[in-house]
Amino acid sequence: MSPAESLKYFNPELIMTGFLLLIIVVSLWKNYKGRRLALSLIAFAGLFFTSFALIQSAGENILIFHNLYACDPFSRFFKMIFLLCGGFIVLIVFQAREIKEKHLGEFYGILLSLILGMFLLVSSSNLLMIYLSLEFVSITSYVLTGFNRNDRRSSEAALKYVIYGGVVSGIMLFGMSYFYGLFGTLEIPAIKKGLIAALSTPYEASRPGSVQAMRLTVLAASIFVFAGFGYKMAAVPFHMWCPDVYEGAPTPFTAFLSIAPKIAGLAAFCRFLLTGFFENISNFLPVTEIPWGAILGILAAATMTLGNLSAISQNNVKRLLAYSGVAHCGYILMGLSALSGEGLFAFYFYSVVYLFMNLGAFVIVIIIREKTGQENIEAYKGLGVREPFIAVSFAVFLFSLIGIPPLAGFIGKFYLFAAVIHKAQAWYYLLAIIGILNSVISLYYYARIIKAMFIEKAVDEQPLQIFSFQKLVTFVLLIPIFIFGIYWQPLAKVATFLF
């Protein structure tokens, strides 16, 4: 489809860019009274109108810009998630003192561009497009990580993030080059045809020794490309940057970083995997004999276990939530390793639930960090007495992260386990057992915070003055945890709509 006609399918992204520029312009006017409110309103409006445009374009399923960019329900679902997450972050940042008044404009501008980058990443079906959007997302997140210019930890985190991201995207690029070399094209569907041709019998007969070489290069190239996605979703071998960056970056951004880019990485990898290596999205017949199920399974087990084990001995709540994020990425990978319809459905469902749980937890961490200035568990001692509402909602978010039934976290985990057990192979049962052991281990370190809040005595008893708006945001985040825990049929219907 030629770029001219395909522009009209592209308008959510266009609206987003429009608002992006508007914010930058508005941020030029300094020091008038309602500046913070105005900027936040514009940012929120931008997100709102984009989502409005997105809903308008429901139902389309076409490749635009010479099948460089896919406008399909899959990408729309995740775009909606990014908008939702962005919206909440804007609400949080509106009153977070961590982001100072005068830099607010830049923060919103870069944040919106980050969301735009993720829009592109999720719906790109061309290797070049993937690389460009991945770089777009990474660079904007380097900048946001180092946003507090005069904070040592923030700049150190940014430095590590830059170099780590650079190397890993370099590796990914290297892998892509081989894919291009082998199949001479950048579109993923075309690569699939090349794969079928390369690894099917007639081709082998003509050049005997080459099948082994071909399999090795394809394998190496796909693992290198996976490195790029793995780094974004913080899967095990590529997760080392995660704790340092989460601790260093400003907390509102850490909240965003722990949700949206992770889900974007997973979604992009899903698209790359399913369109590149499988017949079609419904019957999951593998094109090559690369055992993606086993690879993902091993990665999932490693990610879960390492994430949970490392989180146990953490005292800094942000680092603890970082490792818990790694662990949750492991759970999602477990779902994906099932490589079945239920697996994908579980991924979509869990990403929405994970959004609300993690956001809720980070909102509380931000509030406590602002009021007490500390991030370790001692700051939470006796919170149950000082601020019952905050303590109870934090407990609800943590119990949902553990996966205790009346809350949404359990339903998400239930779908993941259902997908794995439905495969009914010995190997997958083992993975399920590792999964449940991990959720028991996760109980321990989440319960340490809950124990500190409710059971231990507070240092000083007087309540913290928390803005009612922040309490409102917490309450708004609490509602979906309960609703999706009790009656999650609408969300299930939205998620099934996809495939």
Partner: protein, 103 residues
């Protein structure tokens, strides 16, 4: 014998591993950035080689062009951050000492 695809690929691989080696061993932040640039350029070599030899399309060239732009972009951002680190850690950009965030 003339210079074929395999020669370019080997050069690409060599540059890639040199880049990796440079990133891992260098103590100075700027040196590490150089390593990163090397890795990105090795991918460019591959793209150009493949574009010229195996598939006749110009996608490879296109990709290389974009990579160069992005490498520059990344370099700019990275240097800005190194500058911030330089200012915050009172003139230290030695990677070994930047370990305030650990465990």
């Amino acid at each position: 014998m003339s210079v074929g695809l395999s020669h370019f690929l080997t050069i690409g691989a060599v540059v890639f591993s040199l880049g990796l080696f440079c990133v891992i061993t260098r103590r100075n932040a700027i040196g590490v950035l150089m390593g990163v640039e090397l890795i990105l350029n090795s991918a460019n070599i591959n793209f150009l080689a493949f574009s010229h030899f195996s598939s006749g399309t110009i996608d490879g060239h296109l990709f290389a062009l974009f990579c160069i732009v992005l490498a520059a972009l990344e370099c700019a951002v990275a240097l800005a951050i190194v500058l911030a680190v330089f200012r915050n850690f009172d003139k230290v950009i030695d990677m070994e000492q930047l370990t305030t965030l650990h465990k």
